[in-house]
């Protein structure tokens, strides 16, 4: 529809007809040229369409359902990464609350989905970096045990290999100063802290 309420394309036809009526009424032949009416639309290009107003509201349900499913999958992945990281510390798993409990808008669901995806990606990458370093530490413990004199004073704890507890491997000289002078080295393995005793232990 054009601005006057006419279907698009009618304007051109009407002007031609009007031109012809006017020229026949004036009785002066082609004094009112039809071509003027004909050219105008072509010189200006095709008539621009006014923006169409939607007649019905869009159905958000399929999009919302998809987003909710995506959030469900991402939450599952985040939970898996969380379980894999234990007992390591220093990971961030929280995704900002949206002031619930309430129905989130489509835009909020999209933002939540994106935040969750970013969080899962970050956590997975951090875990991957951490496990790489832990693997290096494990290899180093093997090397320390094989050749302690090549790793003097090196100390690696359970924290460094992603295990719980305070156990650590420490390369120390055998018999103190004499060991240092004689290059006698060994790996001392500490079994960790004594059992924790709370203030109300029986």
């Amino acid at each position: 529809m054009d601005g006057d309420g006419d279907p698009v394309g009618w304007g051109l036809t009407r002007r031609i007809a009007l031109g012809r009526v006017l020229s026949s009424q004036s009785g002066r032949g082609n004094t009112l040229p039809d071509t003027l009416e004909l050219r105008t639309p072509y010189q200006q290009g095709p008539p621009s369409l006014p923006p169409l107003a939607p007649r019905t509201a869009p159905d958000e349900r399929p999009a919302r359902r998809t987003l909710l499913d995506q959030i469900e999958r991402l939450e599952q992945e985040l939970s898996s990464v969380f379980v894999s990281t234990w007992p390591r510390k220093g990971f961030e798993f929280s995704v900002a609350s949206r002031g619930g409990p309430r129905l989130l808008s489509l835009a909020e669901l999209e933002l939540l989905r994106d935040d969750l995806a970013t969080r899962v990606d970050d956590a997975r990458r951090s875990l991957s970096d951490r496990t790489y370093v832990e693997e290096k530490h494990r290899c180093r413990i093997e090397e320390m045990l094989l050749a302690p004199e090549e790793h003097k004073w090196v100390r690696i704890g359970n924290d460094d290999i992603g295990e719980p507890g305070c156990k650590h491997w420490h390369v120390r000289p055998r018999m103190g100063v004499l060991g240092i002078l004689m290059n006698w080295w060994r790996v001392k393995i500490s079994s960790g802290c004594p059992l924790a005793k709370g203030p109300c232990a029986p």
Partner: protein, 207 residues
Amino acid sequence: MGWVDHELADEFPDLALWTVRVEAQSGRSPEPVRERLGELSSRITGGHVIHMRQDPVPWAYRVFWRQIGIDPDTTRTPVEQIALDRLQWGGLRSRNLLDDAITIATFETGVPVVALDADLVGDQLGLRLTGADELLGGSGRPLSARQIVVADEDRCLAVLSGEVAEERGVTPSTTNMAIGAIQVKGVPRISVEEALWTVTETLSVGG
């Protein structure tokens, strides 16, 4: 089974509120209930709590919490909160018969349970979204629009995340209770029924 507002039902087709009315009174928990609470706390270990979020029922509520705009790592689901309290305090402390019954039921099944004074609420409980300028319990704190609440025909009674309207909640003088359990996608009906049954059974031990 309670009603669910059509807009909520469209968004979460598996969301449901199961209710049961019990003639019981709260008060100090009897010894069997306290013992059961003690046994329960000895079953909760650090590893158990860590892996809890991968168990089907607690995980289903985590997902639901996330989908309704709550961060479950900040505002814990009820079952996770119980487990965390156990780790923090070194045991599950007995508070009163109703709270102990809810703790036992929630931890055993993973299903959140809410209790109201049946004499102060309407006959039909359900879940709906709040409108503009609504107050919790009819005269409590103002609620923001489109929050998900447990409601009766006239007013909001509790926010879905657990806050119950003070004037509609259970008090020592309550003799009839309305117990509600919320079911979400991924939670089998039997878990919800077991949660309600556990609460009523525990209350009957005390009464």
